[in-house]
C-alpha cells in the first residue's frame, strides 16, 4: 500500500500517513505508560482518532468514520465512566503487580504480536513483500457500497449484528443490575440497623442523622 500511495497520490499522502501512524503509535504508548487511567483513556481516544485518519488515507472512509463514532465517541466514554466510577485508590490497586501477572501480560502480548506477524507474513497482498496490489474501485469504502453489500452478501451477518447488540444490551444490564441489587440490599440492611439504633429515645435528635443518611444515600 505504501508503494501504491507514492505512485498515485505522491509525497503528501506518504507524509500524512507517516504523521498519522506516528500519532497512533505515540497514543498507544501513552495509553500503556500513563499511571492515571483517565489520561490513558484519553490517549486511547487520540490513538483511535489517528487510526481513523490512517483508514481514511487507505480509502476506507466509512470505516474511518465508524472508528471515531463508535470507538472514540461511544466505547471510550463508557471506559471513562467505568474509570470514574472507581475511586482513585481503587484504580491504583488495579495496576498489575508481581512477577506472575507481569509474566502473563508479556506472554499475552507476545502471542498477539506473533499472531499479527504470521497473518502479515502469510498474506499475499502485504506491502512488506511487495505483493500485487490493485487500485481500489471508484466506490470502494463509500457508504453506498457498504450499504449495498449489507443488502446482498452480508445480509445475514447484518441481522445477526442486531441480535448481538440485543444480547449485549441485555447482558450488560443484567451484569450491572446484579451489582446494583446487591448494593441496594446492603444499603437497606445498613439503613435498617441505623434506624433501629436511632429509634431508641436517647438518640432521638433527628436532624443531623437524617441529613447524613440522606447524604450518603445520594452519593451511592
Amino acid at each position: 500500500m505504501h508503494q501504491l500511495h507514492t505512485q498515485t497520490v505522491g509525497l503528501p499522502a506518504t507524509i500524512t500517513f507517516a504523521i498519522l501512524a506516528g500519532l497512533t503509535v505515540i497514543g498507544a504508548l501513552f495509553t500503556i505508560t500513563r499511571r492515571n487511567p483517565v489520561v490513558a483513556v484519553i490517549s486511547l481516544v487520540g490513538t483511535f482518532f489517528a487510526l481513523a485518519g490512517v483508514y481514511a488515507s487507505l480509502s476506507a472512509h466509512f470505516l474511518a468514520i465508524l472508528q471515531i463514532l463508535v470507538y472514540a465517541g461511544a466505547i471510550m466514554v463508557l471506559f471513562i465512566f467505568v474509570v470514574m466510577i472507581l475511586n482513585r485508590d481503587e484504580i491504583t490497586r488495579v495496576a498489575a503487580r508481581g512477577m506472575v501477572r507481569r509474566g502473563l501480560g508479556v506472554v499475552a502480548a507476545g502471542y498477539v504480536v506473533w499472531l499479527l506477524a504470521s497473518v502479515v507474513a502469510n498474506s499475499s497482498a502485504t506491502p512488506l513483500l511487495g505483493g500485487p496490489l490493485s487500485e481500489p474501485g471508484a466506490d470502494f469504502g463509500t457508504v453506498a457500497s457498504v450499504g449495498a453489500s449489507l443488502f446482498t452478501d452480508f445480509m445475514f451477518p447484518f441481522e445477526a449484528v442486531s441480535l448481538l447488540l440485543l444480547v449485549a444490551v441485555v447482558g450488560g444490564l443484567v451484569v450491572s443490575r446484579s451489582e446494583k441489587q446487591e448494593d441496594d440490599a446492603e444499603e437497606t440492611a445498613r439503613r435498617r440497623a441505623q434506624v433501629a439504633t436511632e429509634i431508641r429515645p436517647e438518640s432521638m435528635v433527628g436532624g443531623p442523622t437524617d441529613a447524613t443518611a440522606n447524604h450518603e444515600a445520594a452519593h451511592h
Binding site: V9, P12, A13, T16, G53, A56, S59, H61, A64, L69, V70, A74, I75, V77, L78, F81, V82, I85, E135, P136, A138, F140, G141, T142, V143, A144, V146, G147, A148, L150, F151, F158, E159, V161, S162, L163, L165, L166, V169, V170, G172, L173, S176, R177, E179, K180, D184, E187, T188, R191, R192, V195, I199, M204, G206, A213, N214, A218, H219, H220
Partner: protein, 149 residues
C-alpha cells in the same frame, strides 16, 4: 490530480483533516496568547474549589450513581445501530427503484425492530427510570424516624 473518484475523495478527507489541524492550532494559539496577556498571582485561597463559599469538605471525586454508566451502555448499543443503519438507508431508494423494495424494507424493519426490542427490555426493566432507585431508598427509612415522636 483530481481525475479519479478515489483521489477526489482522498482530497476531501484531506480538507477535513486540514480543518481539524487548523481548528486545534487556532485554539492552542489563542490559549497561548491568553497566557501571555493575563496576570498570574495564584495564592492558596484562589486554589480552592468553589463550594458556595464554604471550605470544601471531602474529596472532589465521589462514587456516582451507576445509572450514568447504564445510560452510556445503552447509548453505545444504539450508536452502533445508527452507524449500521445509515449505509442501508442510503441505498434503500435504489433498491426500491429496482423493485426489490419489499426485501429491503423487511431487512431494515427487522434490524430496527430487534433493537427496539432491546429498548423495550431496558424500558420494562425500569433502567430508564431516572429517579426510581434514589427515591425508593430515600423514602423508606426516614418515614420511620420522623413518625416516632
Amino acid at each position: 490530480m483530481l481525475e479519479s473518484a478515489q483521489n477526489f475523495m482522498q482530497f476531501q478527507f484531506g480538507s477535513a483533516l486540514a480543518f481539524v489541524v487548523i481548528a486545534c492550532l487556532f485554539l492552542f494559539v489563542t490559549l497561548l496568547l491568553g497566557r501571555l496577556l493575563r496576570p498570574a498571582t495564584q495564592n492558596r485561597d484562589k486554589g480552592t474549589v468553589y463550594e458556595c463559599g464554604e471550605t470544601p469538605l471531602g474529596g472532589g471525586w465521589f462514587n456516582f450513581n451507576p445509572r450514568f454508566y447504564i445510560v452510556a451502555l445503552v447509548f453505545l448499543i444504539f450508536d452502533v445501530e445508527v452507524a449500521f443503519t445509515y449505509p442501508v438507508a442510503t441505498v434503500f431508494q435504489r433498491w426500491v427503484g429496482r423493485g426489490d423494495g419489499a426485501l429491503a424494507f423487511v431487512e431494515i424493519a427487522a434490524f430496527v425492530l430487534i433493537l427496539a426490542l432491546g429498548l423495550a427490555y431496558v424500558w420494562v426493566k425500569g433502567d430508564l427510570e431516572w429517579l426510581q432507585p434514589a427515591t425508593a431508598r430515600n423514602a423508606e427509612p426516614p418515614a420511620d424516624t420522623t413518625g416516632a415522636p
